[in-house]
Symmetry: C2
Subunit: 247 residues, 2 copies
């Protein structure tokens, strides 16, 4: 797709975990401090982060399948943390609940990739910019305030009442924005998210995040469809859409 | 209440129409152009704005009473516009639907009071700042982008699924923010909004907007309860909360 064909796009919405922020390094940082406090330096904090993230999709599937009413991601993350502790053989009975609640907020403290803030700032000059993330509103607020992500609004699962990749997550977002799906572009580092968005009629932009899962990443190293735009970073996306660099 | 007692407050949420923006002048401006196009300069555009606003509360009451499922404010405004045309004796049959749809967006183009942007910018340095308005998300986005209102998120009726002054509008907002009601302060120029928020346990800040309804305003010229803070403007509120002036 040429940039010309993007002239009808009014809003650019973003996957966040992996696309805008580096969840693995951020969770690993807080996990390292936690493991050190509990004398469990034998556990690799990256493994802790990966293990926690592995429970992410199955937990949301409980909601999307209808087996469970919608609960926000903070709740799922907290339940998943309990499972991580069991899997990694960490005795949770000796750990104060408040400390685990605090560790759960690691997901609120993730750093953006180096290009994200400037890229979103540039895109904001021409488009509505908002997360279309599975993260809940408070999580996204805390993350944005910490790193100055300049969102126009916080959209996504909690506003839509359902998790991606269910079609309603994309279509209800379009409805809230009072836009047709083709007036919205989803930016994501994940082919499956883009595929679901395209099925709903959204425009698609793939961002390569080759280290989201660490040095040995196997997935999402290449676009698996002819996404409308393919970019190396969010800042590169802004350049491809001819958005001026702020002074 | 002393400022010291505000130390537990984490979020400041705002009524918008009348408190942050001057709805009457903004609607009147667009109404004047509309009336001129249709050769109806005999109608005072301020009366047009007042008439439109008079339908606001009754329309929301249809939703809050349960007689009608939740619909966003843009829908109610558009329905109310049809009623305004009838009441003012304007023949709508000759007016293209698209022109009325466009006029309905007058509510997206309201100017902030002169102190609002700086006041919110200052408060944002210390608190989460968000509208807790009956306006829908897209309306609030358009208004904010046009005037650089620096919200951290767009909360309010569409996110809560109910209109103020129903308690759920305040309590669901607190739940989304993962805060106790007393950790949130509502800022409003309307005593009834503050009364409903206080009933739910929120902190309250009254802003005097003596010209919201024009020179002959009769309502909300004085606080009717001992609100936690009483201020002349949002900037004055930021000063009272000892929030630094940005460089």
């Amino acid at each position: 797709m040429s940039v010309e064909q993007f002239k009808d796009v009014k809003a650019i919405v973003f996957d966040v975990f992996g696309t805008v922020v580096d969840w693995r390094s951020g969770v690993s940082r807080d996990a390292a401090a936690f493991l050190a406090r509990h004398d469990r330096q034998d556990i690799d904090p990256d493994d802790f982060a990966d293990c926690w993230r592995n429970h992410y999709a199955p937990a949301m599937e409980e909601v999307n399948s209808g087996r469970r009413a919608f609960v926000r991601l903070d709740v799922l993350h907290r339940e998943n943390l309990d499972k991580v502790l069991i899997e990694l053989g960490i005795d949770a009975t000796s750990i104060p609940r408040s400390e685990l609640d605090e560790l759960n907020l690691a997901w609120h403290r993730l750093d953006p990739w180096p290009d994200s803030v400037q890229g979103i700032q540039r895109l904001k000059k021409r488009f509505i910019v908002a997360p279309l993330s599975n993260g809940n509103i408070r999580l996204m607020i805390d993350m944005a305030k910490r790193s100055r992500l300049p969102w126009d609004a916080i959209l996504g699962a909690e506003v839509a009442g359902i998790y991606k990749p269910m079609p309603e997550a994309y279509l209800r977002t379009a409805d809230i924005l009072a836009l047709r799906p083709e007036e919205i572009c989803l930016v994501a580092a994940h082919n499956n998210d883009l595929a679901a968005a395209r099925q709903c009629g959204l425009r698609t932009a793939f961002i390569l995040r080759a280290n989201e899962h660490g040095a040995d990443q196997k997935t999402d190293l290449h676009p698996t469809q002819d996404w409308d735009i393919i970019a190396d970073s969010i800042d590169d996306l802004a350049t491809k859409l001819k958005t001026p660099i702020p002074q």
